[in-house]
Symmetry: C2
Subunit: 412 residues, 2 copies
């Protein structure tokens, strides 16, 4: 058994077809409606945003998964309009697109899994999605080109497509995972058990040809999401439409069992980790990707709480934008995280440079060396709390004037 | 009895002397060491940051107040160095300045209340503060000019001095309050009962000639701070040195009692409210001051929790910078605040313009009118949760490219 990243066309999971067209929803006129078709036997697991406010496709998607018990035949995604805060009319518009897609792709309407991303609060143009369905049917296919069309069509402010693949080789049988994601702003996913109604900003679709039941997939998806998408933040804004879908076609003939679960879980973690990293790397205005490695915590939750306070501190984030080794801001943010600790026991390193120890500036702190580390596109800041064995790796980025420009210019 | 704002020289509280000099701590060469002298009988109440990491003067100040039971004769403040994350050496340096000030101003060392603000993690130049003390003694005085020297010397990135006054007229006797504050960045004060050790960014000194005991003053200060300084945020970064000191000289001859407590509390609230507003208004890079009025909440704490999520949302803050009535971002931030609510019952107004109701864009939403309101320097956003009678007014500001520039350029 081995887990490896493979970019060859054969590493795409069997049993799926992908396609996308231009339906005129994005003002740019680019690809904006994407479809993925799975076999009737496919099983899905999904995690949605924990935001109290959710978009119509989240409400409808939850309902569909509940009524089918996790069966998904068609994934229908549009970019350009989030169908959020659109009231009952938005729900009805979403249902109409599912009904039309069911007809086109020969399934039941609740076997359609809808997603939307884009502007919030604008009436949803269901008629454009519906009118595009026949054209999508003619472009469906199973090659890398088809899968990439899907990945391109779901982009909004993303500057590049985000995909990842993994292959698990089990006694000569291959199980494949292909993941496609979008997201560049309003990124601080907090995915969990469904809560209330989401504005979709991070969308992730994970396709595999493993054979597994929804319940089994849910058990694998939750920890994979917790360590990846729930451990990244661009701006601390948790979206109303964040969605991660794991869809298993079963077409590899390999079942999830005692022998396959571990290699599959590892491969799923790799794919989720890669996509999560790509999302931060393509964050709005990002010039530095910073991994916060919080160690020596009492619990993983406390480690994450400290990392999040730093990741959301405008003062830390602006210092990173200029490669300023201002460790005082790191320490101050940790201090207001709500986690109790003794500052005298805290140890901070930027890359390999010691910056803070024994309650003060590290004697060996070399400001020029720390500054040089921070000029790299990507580096790690380690903060050891000195009071336990728990840890967390959290990926975040700097805050730049470009981020402000992008989001101040965004028009309602 | 009447409460009024009065800017005449006679409205300064009796019994105090103020002064400030240039001690060479600020790189700019401006006034940087300030002193206020109170009579031996003066009583103090103080609230410090809840940050786990606190500066040396906070540790020392707590110790002094505990040992004197709330007696403060000399307030000693420097700007330009926060004396934070400076280890045991920082504590000793702070104590040295208190001992020297006690000698100069004829009191006991623990009757000196130290404060520092400025850069974090840089060895504290106690010798500069000590060398400046004789000069300060020669410039002490009780006029508005003296009080304003004090207010100027405590400034760091502030572009203007922040002071407020109130006069309470009780049966012909006047009780005066004078407040001086500093703070422009790292502003999201969370003041409370002393927790651990603080990098001072918001400093507030409230002087009054009322006669009151420390315990009585504490009871008045906590609610006044809760409604003012604990309800503002510039960047969501809670500093390590935030300090609010209320010092009562008793020189008016009027005691705090059943008849005076209410007008005094009202006047104290006014002064704190004015200073809190001035701090946001002078926030780094601020072009718009936004009051978030959250109503219809189950509890005041939930109202504040929703307001804080919006106040700390980079997406909301950047939209405000361009007067963009992007209410979807307001709703999304409320949605991830952690407070449960039904989006269908939420009502949002920008100024007097309805923008969101019944789960969707308000039928009467006039985008141009909302945009016009948001072009004002200052306006109110009202968010009614529709599930209770509790409310909160929280003052915050926009996030601009200028904020990023200021904080990216700040050198360690």
């Amino acid at each position: 058994m081995s887990t490896e990243q493979d970019t060859s066309v054969t590493s795409l999971p069997l049993g799926f077809q992908w396609g996308a067209v231009k339906a005129g929803i994005k003002a740019s006129g680019k690809l904006d409606v994407a479809v993925a078709i799975a076999p009737k036997t496919a099983k899905a697991a999904v995690m949605y945003t924990k935001n109290q406010v959710v978009a119509a496709p989240v409400t409808v998607g939850r309902r569909h998964l509940q009524s089918t018990g996790g069966r998904v035949v068609a994934v229908l995604v549009n970019a350009g309009n989030a169908n959020c805060a659109t009231g009952q009319a938005g729900i009805e518009a979403c249902v109409q697109t599912c009904v039309a897609a069911a007809e086109t792709f020969h399934c039941i309407y609740d076997e359609v899994f809808p997603s939307s991303t884009g502007i919030i609060g604008v009436p949803f143009p269901a008629e454009k999605v519906i009118a595009a369905l026949p054209a999508i049917q003619t472009v469906l296919g199973s090659t890398s080109d088809h899968a990439e069309l899907f990945a391109q069509a779901i982009m909004t402010t993303d500057t590049r497509m985000k995909t990842a693949r993994a292959v698990i080789d089990i006694d000569g049988t291959r199980v494949n995972i292909f993941g496609a994601a979008k997201g560049a702003g309003m990124i601080h996913p907090q995915l969990g058990a469904p809560v209330g109604p989401p504005h979709a900003t991070m969308l992730v679709y994970l396709f595999t040809d493993l054979a597994a039941e929804t319940e089994e997939l849910n058990k694998l998806l939750a920890p994979a999401v917790e360590q990846s998408f729930n451990c990244i933040s661009i701006d601390g804004d948790t979206s109303t439409n964040d969605t991660v879908l794991l869809l298993a076609s079963g077409a590899s003939g390999t079942k999830l069992n005692e022998r396959t679960v571990e290699p599959f879980a590892n491969a799923l973690n790799l794919v989720c980790g890669s996509l999560a990293h790509q999302i931060v790397d393509d964050g709005e205005g990002v010039t530095h990707v910073v991994t916060l490695h919080v160690t020596g915590a009492r619990t993983p939750a406390e480690a994450k709480q400290v990392a999040k306070a730093i990741a959301h501190s405008p003062l830390c984030k602006t210092a990173w934008s200029s490669a300023d080794p201002n460790w005082g801001r790191l320490l101050a943010a940790a201090g207001y995280s709500g986690v109790t600790f003794d500052p005298e026991k805290v140890n901070i390193r930027i890359g390999t440079q010691p910056v803070f120890e024994m309650g003060m500036r590290a004697p060996l702190f070399d400001e020029a060396a720390a500054h040089a580390t921070m000029q790299e596109r990507e580096y790690t800041i380690t903060l050891d709390l000195g009071q336990g064995n728990a840890e967390c790796r959290f990926i975040t980025c700097d805050l730049t004037a470009e981020y402000v420009r992008i989001n101040a210019d965004y028009s309602t």
